[in-house]
Structure formats: C-alpha cells, structure tokens
Subunit: 371 residues, 2 copies
C-alpha cells in the first residue's frame, strides 16, 4: 500500500502579501487555476487512492483545506497544535497511518509495511509521468529498508536550497529506464554563491527537495534510534489515539518537542539514506522571483497575473487580482497588490520580504497585514 | 464689493488614482487636513464674506461640494452642464454676480461695479498676508479698468506652465510696500526646457497662475469685444436667469460654445491687461511630483502619506491611505495605492499619468478606475 503525506502547515512568508497566516502560499492558486494544495493532491491521486492521502497542517487552516479538497476524508487531515518543524509532523502522520493500518479491515502485517511518500504542498511539478517513475523506483528502494530523499538536478547555482552530495550508485533491479539511486555522501547546508557555483559545475550535487519515500516501519525505527524524544512522545500519543483526550495529549506532547527538521533529525544521521534523481520539472516557488520560471513572460519581459496597464514597463513581475496595477517607466520590480497593501520590491532583493515581515509584525497598526 | 469666483470643475487627471471623476483633486485633502477647495474657500473668506463667494463646478460634484463647504450659500454653487473651459465658466459666474448685484438690496450702480477675484480651487498658497496684499493692489488696478492676472516669480525652469512676459511698470499710488504691477508684453505658451531656462534667468517672466482680478463690468465688456459668441450666449442665459427653464437654456447655450480658456479668449487679446507679481508661496500641485514642494521629506528623502514600511527605500513619494505601502530596494518612484488600484511611476515620468489614463479609459474592464 502506498500513502502520501502532504505537508501543508507552512507559512509561505516570502510570498507575502498574497500569502498570509490564514491563507498561506499552499492554499493559493500559484502557477495554476487550482491552489498549490489541490495540485499536490491531484499528483498524490496519481499515486494512490484518496483514503491513503494524508494532509498535515496547523490548527486554523483545516476549514479552508476541507473546502479545497472535499474528496479527501476529513479524518486524514491532521492538525498539529503548534508548528514543530517537519520531523514532528512526519512522525505524527506516520503514527496515524500505522494505527490506521493496524485497525484496517485489510490487515497488513508488520513485515509487509506500507510505503509513505512525503510531499510538501507548495511545489510545482511538471511532467507527471517522470514523477510517477521516480516514486515507483524510490518505493522499491524504500521496501529494501532505505530512507529515500528525492534530489533535483540543479539548473543554476541557487543559494537558497540545501544540497545533497551523492555517493556510490546503488545497483538495483528496477530496470534501466528508471532514475538512478545513489547513497548519500553528505547533506550540505545552503551554500554561498561561490560554493553553489562549484556544486553546480559538478554532477554529484542535488538540490534537497524535501520530498521523501520510506516505509512506515523503517522511518519509525529511525525515530527510535535518532530522535528518541520524539519517538517517546509519539508512543504516548499512540496510546491515546482512540481516547477522547487525544487532542489534549497531542498538545501536551507537542509542547515538549524541539523544532527539528526531518533532514537534521533523521536524514543527516541515519545510515540507510539514499537519494534518487528526480528528473521532472520542479519548482518550490520559494519567492516571488520563482514565478519567472512558472509563468510565461510577455513581449516586454513582464509576468502579469491580474489586470495591468503600463507605459515603459519592462522585466517586472506584476501580481494583482481584484486590485489592479498600473505602471510608468519601471523595470526589474516586483509589484504585488492585494488591496489592503501593496509590495513594491526590487527583483534582486526578493529574499528580503521575510525581513520586511518582521518589521510589519512589530508595527501595532500594520501587523494585521500578516494575518 | 469684492466677490471671489472659485473654479472647481477640473478633473485633476495627473493626480490619478487619488483624483477621480467623482472626487477630483480639488475635493481631496492635499497638503492639508482640509480639502483643497476648503482651503481655497478659507482664503476667499479672508477677502470677503461667504455670500460673495461663488463656486463654479460641473454637474455631479455639487453634493460633495455642499458637504465640504456648508457655510457657502447653495445658490452660489454654479453647476455647468458641460465643461467649456475657463472663459465660459468665468462668463457664467460673472453674469450671476451681475444679476445678484442688480437685485441686491444694497443696490450697486453700474459705475461702482464690483470686483471679482478668480481663484482655481486646486492651488496651495502659503503666506496669506502677502496674498491679501496682492489682491488689494490688484483690486485697485481693476477698478481703473485693468484686467489683472497674477504672475508668480519662477523658482525653477518649469516647462508645464504658461509664462507672462511683463512690460512696463505701471506707476500707481497704491503705496511702496505693495507688489509691482506691469503691463503685459506677451503671454507665452508652455516652453521647452531650453526656453524655460532662458525665462528663468531673466526677471521679466512670470508663471501664469490662472488667478485674475477685474470688475464685473470690465470683464463683461471684454467678452463683448473679444468673445462675441460667448457674450451672446450669456445674454440669452441672463434673460432667463429667473425662469424655471433656466437650467435647460444654459444647457442649450453651453452646447453651442467652443472650449476656450480665458487666457486665449480674452487675456491674450485685450489691451488693458496687466500682471501683478504674487509674492506669496504658490503651488498648483500639477502632478504627484509637486508634493515634493508641499510635504517634508523624511531622513531617507521619502515623502510618506499614510502607512509605509520599507527597506532600502530612498527619494520616493509614497501615498497610501486605507491601503498601506511596503517597499524594498527602490528609489525615485511614486507609489500611490488606493486599494482598487496602485500606480507605480518613475518620478521623471510623472507627466505620463495623463497618457496612462487615456489607455485606462479605453479598457472596458478597467475604465471604472477613472470614475
């Protein structure tokens, strides 16, 4: 059996002012008429059936999520009481899948444990066929006990991603037309530009996409070995999973947890980690600038979403909607108008939106603009 | 008796998107907590009493005007059925003042005719004392039969104004501390930059401010001589001024009129035209750029009206209100956010707002943004 766990609790801060606490990036239509979550669920449905798709999110977003994906069973939407980074979110989802499997009418023995594919809800992936091939190959490796991370071949020296340095190729019997799988030599933090250029030159480095494939039991084993505190908390939660106090107990256990990513908590420590080369088009839409790779530019080099009228306007990213944008004599700017606020940002400084948000949060009158 | 005619029918297009057809520049608070019209009326009240202040405007604005200046008699708000430029507007107001004078309990003989000061509703004038001195001196010249225009000493080589080339000084007995009055040698169209620089170097050129002082009878004489069609129309309107058909007749007569400015129709043709040097601070707030002379810049050289949070933002004009503005890494831009639309405009191209408006008006979906 194959499950998909979709991570949909992010805040998408660098997509402010469109992305807000109550309607973060993954719940917005970016790069498609559908929201990013809807697109991710569609992708998941190409891999498995609706009852095996789980969404981990944070309290407050569930109503909007029910509305966006009514075909996914409500009990599969898992609300974390607080954000505790990806390790906790994945642990909680894994626990719930294991409990579901144990009580399922189609009893699945512990040995024949089920595959879980972890997908962030805010990625754009084109070429579904290649994506499915990658997941299929990764699933076979997962069944052999590997924790598989999906690596993306860098198309330029990005400094905003972590990198995976691949090791030896793993020879498998998956067939010659499947993507290659390698041992992981090392995970690398976000590099400076010089280092990113070196990585880009060599063919041994992948972008760390945050997509994973493993089995429920092997990842549980990894938590037990490398994150014993989280493992303990999950056991306590597991024992109360059918209790009316369940939500209270999750809250209590979560409150004790450190915020640790699955990369740092498990992947960088475990032995049986491998990387599969994802050959599909991938974009994590990390900032407004990423839209240049998602939307087609017009004759003046502008990307326009919504209504725009301009004079002498070149190479801009112009995002309106109900609110229009008009421009005269500008270039290389990002303009996002949401009616209550406009952002005008030099393209080269798109990463500073996070810094701007910090200032806005501190401003008593304007802090409402992040909610 | 001194009357003030305030010209409040303009569209203020270069102040879009704040200025709209239904709430043009003069009805907005620019440079003050009061609207520009309210400030102009306050200035008029320093010259005469409320019942002698007349507002010429266009149909559709009267309700907002009643609201803004409730202390001015409603019958003094004159609604033109269509815009026919300044000559017609001044002619109609002059006619109504003459009729009022003839039926007034304080009968004023034709010889001792009353002074009229014409003031656009969208000027910012500081130093009221100097302004009053100028009007007082101009009024004396007007009583002698002169059509007086107020010239402003250029403070830089502006290309957006018409200029007045002064002639000989008129020696009067008005006193040594009153502003100088000169014959007008020639009115000059908006110059190119080279010419504007020449005008600026010499002391013989003034900006044509669009403010005038004359008597009701002398300007009537001028219409009779230089604009006989308008004079005839005004006679027809005058004969029906107390009739229930008055508004209909004004409409019929107005429809026949050409759009001619008072400068072109009278001032450039008449013999008895003189210019008085207005020594007060004057700003006609002709475009967004003019705000640089109205508001104080902050430490980064920005002018901010409304809420703004920015990073690396320099020498910008940032006009929000209910809608906030956030900026990263920009300089020398004008940003105006009205919620339904934002304008982002290079400072040096502020004059192109009119061109932009033409495009917006042609756009079926967005044309609502000018109304």
């Amino acid at each position: 059996m194959l499950n998909v766990v979709i991570m949909a609790g992010g805040s998408g801060e660098r997509f402010w002012p469109k992305s807000r606490e109550k309607s973060p990036k993954q719940l917005l239509p970016i790069g498609s008429k559908n929201t990013m979550l809807q697109e991710t669920v569609k992708r998941a449905q190409a891999l498995t059936s609706s009852e095996n798709i789980f969404i981990v999110t944070r309290v407050g977003l569930e109503k909007e999520i029910y509305k966006q994906i009514p075909h996914i069973p409500k009990e599969n939407i898992i609300n974390e009481p607080f954000a505790r980074n990806t390790a906790a979110a994945i642990g909680l989802a894994n626990l719930i899948i294991q409990k579901r499997d144990n009580v399922s009418r189609d009893y699945i023995s512990k040995d024949k444990n089920s595959i879980t594919v972890v997908l962030p809800a805010d990625h754009i992936i084109k070429n579904l066929k290649q994506f499915k091939k990658t997941i299929a190959a990764a699933s076979k490796a997962a069944e052999e006990g590997r924790l598989v991370t999906i690596g993306i071949k860098p198309s330029y020296p990005e400094t905003g991603y972590g990198y995976i340095h691949r090791g030896d190729k793993i020879f498998t019997e998956y067939g010659s037309d499947t993507p290659c799988i390698y041992k992981v030599k090392e995970f690398r933090e976000k590099p400076d530009l010089k280092t990113a250029r070196e990585y880009f030159k060599k063919s041994e480095y992948y972008w760390n996409s945050g997509m994973f494939v493993w089995t429920t039991n092997y990842i549980e084993e990894a938590f037990k070995e490398y994150m014993p505190e989280l493992y303990k908390a999950l056991k306590v939660i597991g024992n109360s999973i059918s209790s009316p106090l369940r939500d209270e107990i999750i809250k209590v256990e979560y409150a004790k947890l450190e915020k640790i990513s699955i990369d740092y908590g498990v992947m960088e420590r475990a032995e049986n980690v491998s990387v599969i080369e994802g050959l599909f088009d991938w974009n994590d839409v990390g900032s407004w600038l990423a839209l240049e790779k998602v939307y087609k530019k017009d004759d003046d080099g502008n990307i326009v979403v919504g209504d725009h009228i301009g004079i002498d306007t070149k190479d801009c990213i112009l995002i309106g909607d109900e609110s229009s944008i008009t421009t005269i004599g500008i270039s290389d700017l990002i303009v996002v108008n949401t009616g209550d606020v406009v952002l005008v940002c030099k393209k080269a400084e798109a990463q500073k939106v996070k810094e701007l948000l910090k200032q806005i949060k501190k401003n008593k009158k304007l802090s409402k603009l992040v909610k």
